[in-house]
Symmetry: C2
């Protein structure tokens, strides 16, 4: 199949939820079970053709998603309903469809995204139920200190101190538009919204905020770590199972109108 | 320490949470991984002796617990803290300790219980996250009809229609003191409190309530099914992964005072 043929296929937008526990992350890798790989496998069965899908962003092994957005184009005579029901049937239990739309124009889930929101869940006590969906640090920490330090994240910053160097990324500048905390007896949810996220960024931020929470770093020193642009200044990377890609925002694009007018369930 | 305690060992009350997904249920069975078996294994390592533990009730394979109560007595020179930390360390990740007390008198988690509350969780849409903690029926149903039918459960009834016959139980009479529904966009929680529960009772009730919800049985006919005392009249047994043993109540017993005065976390 040529690139031109892919370009001319019917464009779709898919919103999915997945449990990252048993995936080697989002991106296709040889001999590994990945989210992208499972979706492409299902689409190949349905359309009898190789289909390449794009996600709004990669997630690492063990990281979950509540609203990952996926774009792809297919050549198929199947109706929208047939494709959707086929996907629901063929995808494994740890991937579920939140919404699916057929669009009037091509759409790129990664390039067209204007912001992404990640959620990091920290459990306040040891637990058996839901243990795969949170970091359980088993230490005493002050959420108030973490909240205070997290205020320094908002705005445009160079996040080099919180990113894994990869030799591919020109710069680690990102604009964080919001950080939000939800705190109850059992769990702490830290939400962060930005235009760009880099490899390990949220997990490094949370790992460093936890160092603040347990008193190893003062909240005001968190800003110095950010300004240092040096990964060795920051704390450890928090574990993947607490991290969720929550949702992705797209700007209004008049070309990307929805062809299917059915309510998505 | 009384003579009885020296003979029988120091009595403990343990409250645990467990994820039933990977257990063949509560009760010890040869060559099976069970909750009781894991606790007894940990206590044997700590005390160097065979310890038999009692649970407030058995749970089937795949059924979870948020507050299962366990009683046991040990001969050990270990302090309360040593035993507790040892148990925390030795128990697998899918069993966690909610509370532990050393008592002044023997206590039987099963016989001393005055009521048990089970919770059954039904998911309103397909989902990947938390799929192991709910029944996902993938059909349209009316919660209002289910709520209406569930009112007939309250009171003392013969629950033969909702119990798996086992040849051991004299009668299936139970007094249901309360049924309670919590309903939100994503999940429906059905809670039922009674003095006794029988094998498959909650799951058969929920399976039959779902037949009401989907319109196969009228809410008022639910009462006739209860009165029929015939298992063949009721609906199918709902799957185990939606069921949680929520909590167990014990009457005030002046003999069962708590020896450890530390706050349990």
């Amino acid at each position: 199949m040529t690139k031109a043929m892919i370009k001319n296929g019917r464009p779709f937008k898919l919103v999915i939820e997945y449990d990252g526990s048993d995936f080697a992350g989002w991106q296709v890798q040889p001999n590994q079970r990945t989210v992208q790989g499972e979706i492409e496998k299902a689409l190949k069965i349905l359309t009898q053709k190789e289909v390449r899908v794009a996600g709004s962003g990669r997630t690492d092994a063990g990281v979950h998603a509540l609203g990952q957005v996926v774009s792809f184009q297919v050549h198929s005579s199947l109706s929208f309903d047939e494709l959707k029901k086929g996907l629901i049937g063929l995808l494994p239990k740890d991937i579920s469809i939140v919404g699916m739309d057929e669009l009037g124009e091509p759409f790129d889930a990664r390039r067209d995204a204007i912001s992404r929101t990640y959620r990091y869940v920290i459990a306040r006590r040891s637990r058996a139920i839901n243990r795969q969906y949170a970091w359980i640090p088993r230490i005493t920490f002050s959420v108030e200190s973490m909240q205070e330090a997290s205020k320094y994240l908002v705005g445009e910053h160079d996040f080099t101190s919180f990113c894994k160097a990869n030799g591919q990324t020109d710069n680690f500048i990102s604009c964080v538009s919001d950080v939000h905390w939800q705190i109850d007896d059992g769990e702490i949810h830290f939400e962060i919204t930005a235009d760009r996220f880099f490899h390990h960024m949220v997990r490094s931020i949370v790992g460093t905020l936890m160092e603040v929470g347990r008193g190893k770093i003062a909240p005001e020193d968190f800003q110095q770590i950010l300004k240092a642009k040096d990964r060795t200044c920051a704390g450890p990377t928090a574990p993947p199972q607490g991290l969720f890609l929550d949702h992705v925002e797209y700007g209004q694009n008049p070309h990307v109108f929805i062809l299917n007018d059915k309510e998505q369930k």
